[in-house]
């Protein structure tokens, strides 16, 4: 079973009361408060974006856009949801738009060679792993990244949010503005497609 501890990884790295104070200070124009928000959330936001789009540079661009959007819309931030939820929603939607544009670009310029956008240095390797294990893990991760590119943007977003970020399907449906049944279908299709793409790894 996939453990649900992942849920505790990101969503509330600070309690909601402190977060509200910080947001209020940022709204009042305290740039240090906004810097603090950036400091607290940037690692997780970049990681989320990287999992969604698969490239470090694009992930940083998306994360930057998310923070700038937050800065612009701080005055309208009512605090009904946490900043983490706001980031999940914004980054996921930005990533889906990005992936759609990317697919279109690939279709239009199919004759061009594109880098697969994976950098072996991006992947954190388990501590204490031998060089051979490191190599195997890196290769597996690269294949997984390639396989993820075969998914539709929504399938990928649903898969990453459930499998990597550990969000509940109900929450994912709310974030992406979809029906829960549709989210279940996306998840099932994503896993089925990934299984087909990764047959070599799964059945050596």
């Amino acid at each position: 079973m996939i453990d649900r501890l992942l849920l505790q990884e990101y969503p509330l790295s600070m309690d909601s009361h402190n977060e509200k104070i910080l947001v209020q200070q940022a709204i009042a124009g305290d740039s240090r408060a906004f810097d603090e928000i950036v400091r607290l959330h940037s690692q997780q936001v970049i990681q989320l974006a990287w999992r969604l789009v698969g490239s470090r540079e694009d992930a940083e661009d998306l994360a930057q856009e998310a923070f700038l959007r937050l800065h612009r819309s701080l005055a309208d931030f009512r605090g009904d949801s946490s900043l983490a939820t706001w980031f999940y929603r914004t980054v996921s939607r930005l990533a889906i738009d990005f992936l759609r544009r990317e697919r279109l670009r690939r279709k239009l310029f199919w004759f061009r060679h594109y880098e697969d956008g994976t950098d072996p240095r991006d992947h954190a390797v388990a501590p204490g792993a031998s060089p051979a294990q490191e190599l195997l893990a890196t290769e597996q991760q690269q294949r997984l990244r390639c396989a993820l590119r075969q998914l539709s943007p929504r399938q990928r977003a649903v898969f990453v949010l459930r499998n990597d970020e550990g969000l509940a399907l109900k929450e994912i449906a709310r974030l992406l503005g979809l029906e829960e049944g549709t989210v279940k279908i996306h998840l099932h299709r994503a896993v089925a497609k990934l299984t087909t793409e990764l047959t070599e790894i799964l059945e050596p």
């Binding site: 079973m1 992947h123 099932h188 896993v191 089925a192 799964l202």
Partner: protein, 153 residues
């Protein structure tokens, strides 16, 4: 996938949802009871769990220096945006104003151009001289040829 090979009502999607702990409690209970007596479903579930182990989340290797770099990039960009908060809108407005001024003037110019008679065709004298030179050269070559042929008769 092997859904058709399993002679039971549990679809692969439900097994997958069970792996993710997303099946409602009633259905989960039914599935657990079913799994005791259904070997194909147990195998399918094991296969799915193996797949999900391979699909474990990747973690980005992002150092403190990377974070610092990102933070300063964000500050730089934010400052630029706050300095020119509506730069794209301002640029578009300016372009529209310029077009509004240029468009009538441009149409006047076009009208004047259309009303003018066509300009006479002029050829540079140098080109004509060169042309004459090449023609004369041809004649001289022919004369040389005749001179060579003269002794032959």
């Amino acid at each position: 996938m092997e859904q058709q090979q399993r002679p039971c009502n549990f679809a692969e999607r439900e097994l997958l949802l069970s792996c993710y702990d997303e099946l409602d409690s009633g259905l989960q209970q039914l599935l657990q009871e079913h799994l005791h007596g259904c070997d194909p479903c147990r195998r399918e579930l094991a296969r799915l769990e193996k797949t999900l182990r391979v699909l474990r989340p990747a973690t980005l290797n992002y150092s403190a220096a990377d974070l610092q770099r990102f933070s300063s990039r964000l500050t730089r960009h934010g400052r630029r945006r706050s300095f020119f908060p509506r730069l794209p809108v301002a640029a578009a407005s300016l372009a529209l104003v310029v077009l509004a001024f240029i468009a009538p003037w441009q149409s006047d110019v076009l009208r004047t151009k259309n009303s003018m008679p066509p300009a006479p065709v002029t050829v540079e004298l140098g080109i004509l001289e060169a042309f004459d030179f090449y023609q004369n050269l041809e004649v001289l070559e022919l004369l040389d040829l005749f001179e060579e042929l003269e002794p032959v008769g």
